[in-house]
């Protein structure tokens, strides 16, 4: 393809729009967090003081001044946005340490968990769909299995797996954050419903692709059924799965809350839940910003992957 001078402008324009949209998303996430936490009942002062009994009115007043909670709401909001823009996430009310350190500590376990469950889910979806679509008996059996998987609540699978593998069979540790063996059960409980869901979506387009003329051509060239499925049809079936993966990452973060609780894992989900219930504004903002950044990166990656898998899209868009 000859790169016309016009094309690079279009790419630049798209890039700017993309970055602008991402900034808008991050700004909105910060604002939304601020508003909700302001509306929520309760007082951040109790979170700052921790469990210490009956603070005097003077102490409360001192703390309000120290953390800027005595200023007018609009001033607080402006300061809040300014701090976030200048990269100061502040320090957590409840943990008494910088938000950056909390993120640094809690993010890796959650990222590991998300990555391993995404891989497991994709592995299951690809194998299940490719090996069974439009094969008599297998197709309906696996498609029912996928519906069943997609309908399982993560926290319930978590508990059942915990009961079976940790307490009954004693094969895997029931709790903990470190080591590969402690990652298996939590990722499975996130991956099973997600895998079922991805497979359901991919199966539809896998089946329609199998009816396409180019599949007949490939067969006529003498390719085996397995080769046709993996080399020609799978690529088409991947697309809806890829576009769902952005959504899936958002859902994984949310579902990680319950799973991290069940397996007593360190992680962002659990920390976010605790921070919200303790009105720890800086920490909540920090975690939500971090999640939004991951989401923005993921949606960018998904779009890029989309073009790599289906080059026709680039031509259609440019």
């Amino acid at each position: 393809m000859i790169l016309l001078p016009n094309t690079s402008f279009i790419i630049l324009k798209k890039f700017i729009l993309r970055v602008g949209g991402a900034c808008l998303v991050l700004f909105a996430a910060t604002t939304l967090t601020f508003i909700t936490l302001q509306l929520a009942p309760g007082d951040p002062v109790t979170a700052i003081l921790g469990g210490s009994a009956n603070p005097t009115p003077e102490t409360i007043k001192e703390i309000r001044t120290e953390y800027g909670l005595d200023k007018r709401l609009i001033v607080q909001y402006a300061l809040h946005i300014w701090h976030v823009l200048s990269g100061h996430l502040g320090s957590s009310f409840s943990q008494h340490m910088p938000v950056k350190d909390v993120l640094w500590q809690q993010a890796p376990p959650t990222l590991k968990l998300m990555l391993s469950s995404l891989l497991l889910a994709w592995g299951f979806a690809i194998l299940s769909v490719t090996l069974s679509a439009k094969k008599p008996l297998f197709d309906s059996a696996f498609s029912s299995l996928e519906t069943f998987f997609a309908g399982l609540p993560q926290f319930w699978i978590g508990i059942i797996l915990l009961w079976l593998f940790a307490y009954q069979l004693g094969l895997l540790p029931p709790a903990g954050t470190h080591g590969f063996s402690s990652l298996i059960l939590p990722s499975l409980s996130l991956a099973i419903p997600l895998g079922g869901f991805l497979a359901q979506v991919m199966r539809e387009s896998f089946k329609t692709t199998l009816d396409q003329p180019f599949v007949l051509t490939a067969r006529a060239r003498g390719l085996s059924d397995t080769a046709v499925r993996f080399r020609h049809v799978l690529r088409h079936a991947l697309l809806p799965g890829v576009s769902l993966s952005t959504w899936a990452i958002g859902a994984l973060v949310g579902n990680a809350v319950a799973v991290e609780f069940i397996f007593s894992r360190q992680g962002l989900g659990r920390q976010l839940f605790l921070a919200v219930s303790m009105h720890d504004m800086p920490l909540v903002t920090g975690i939500i910003l971090f999640i939004s950044v991951i989401y923005v990166i993921a949606s960018f990656l998904a779009d890029t992957l989309y073009v790599i898998i289906d080059p026709r899209i680039q031509e259609a868009r440019a």
Partner: protein
């Protein structure tokens, strides 16, 4: 088999016809389960004689047996009775939040699709923002806002689920915006309000019904995962998510306290999905 299927000419029965044999069984089972569920929600005493809150400490942690088919919990309360009584709140939460979600979705999608290019762009941005903000996190913040209980749970799940439906409806409205019947109504001199109430909403009703039927199971799962985290009705309540959460502490010795509420949630999800899929196949004319 696959070779004949890949020919351009295929003789498939029209999707409007009745389903093939194997799907009959699933549908019948789903109907049966939903009938029992609705019966349990309306008249729980019809299915059980016990009291869901009657404590019997001596019978605590009884494994499933003749007297207690699903066992008893840590206070000796019969699990079957509690599950039956929990059906009402689960159905109310599921249906209530899906209705709320569809209302919010409609009120975003309609102005977005018919309010001019500026509104369209704004609504697109709103969806983008709501999507980057994980649904469960949104629900978490909302429940923190209203404290815990059944009603806040409905609001949280409803608003959390709204962007998904909103985007779907928005897309559908954009495609029918220039459909013949809308243009015809406009050229006949109907006001936008008339077009909306007489043409658009009736036409959107069927896809809404299908989306709602498919979504009830999902909202019940979301609600139960929030009440699992302690954001729903507080502990003694006979609510599936709360019951499941209570059983977590006794999982090593009494698996049935956690297992059966989960089974109830999963079966409800499967039944509503089966029903929704049937409605979809039967009423939605898709061109593939």
């Amino acid at each position: 088999m696959s070779a004949t299927n890949s020919l351009p000419l295929s003789l498939k029965p029209s999707p409007r016809l009745w389903l093939p044999g194997s799907q009959h069984i699933g549908l019948t089972l789903a109907f049966l389960y939903l009938t029992i569920l609705i019966l349990a929600a309306i008249a729980p005493h019809f299915l059980t004689h016990g009291n869901p809150y009657g404590i019997a400490p001596r019978e605590a942690f009884t494994a499933p047996c003749w007297q207690h088919p699903l066992g008893t919990d840590q206070s000796g309360r019969d699990m079957w009775t509690r599950l039956i009584f929990g059906a009402r709140s689960s159905l109310v939460i599921g249906i209530g939040s899906i209705l709320l979600a569809l209302c919010v979705a409609l009120s975003l999608a309609i102005p977005g699709a018919f309010g001019g290019p500026f509104a369209e762009q704004c609504v697109k941005w709103v969806f983008e923002i709501l999507f980057s903000f994980p649904t469960v996190v949104l629900a978490l913040l909302l429940t923190a806002l209203f404290s815990s209980g059944t009603f806040p749970l409905i609001v949280a799940v409803g608003i959390g689920a709204a962007p998904g439906y909103g985007r779907m409806l928005f897309g559908q409205f954009l495609t029918i915006r220039h459909a013949g019947f809308i243009e015809a109504a406009r050229s006949l001199g109907h006001s936008p309000a008339q077009i909306l109430t007489r043409h658009l909403i009736p036409n959107a009703f069927r896809p809404l019904l299908i989306a709602g039927a498919m979504g009830i199971g999902q909202t019940i799962i979301w609600a139960s995962s929030l009440s699992f985290l302690g954001l729903g009705a507080p502990p003694p309540a006979a609510e599936w998510g709360t019951m499941l959460a209570m059983g977590r502490d006794y999982i090593a010795e009494a698996w049935w306290i956690t297992f059966f509420p989960g089974v109830a949630i999963v079966l409800t999800m499967l039944a509503t999905t089966t029903l929704g899929r049937f409605l979809k196949n039967r009423f939605e004319t898709t061109t593939s």
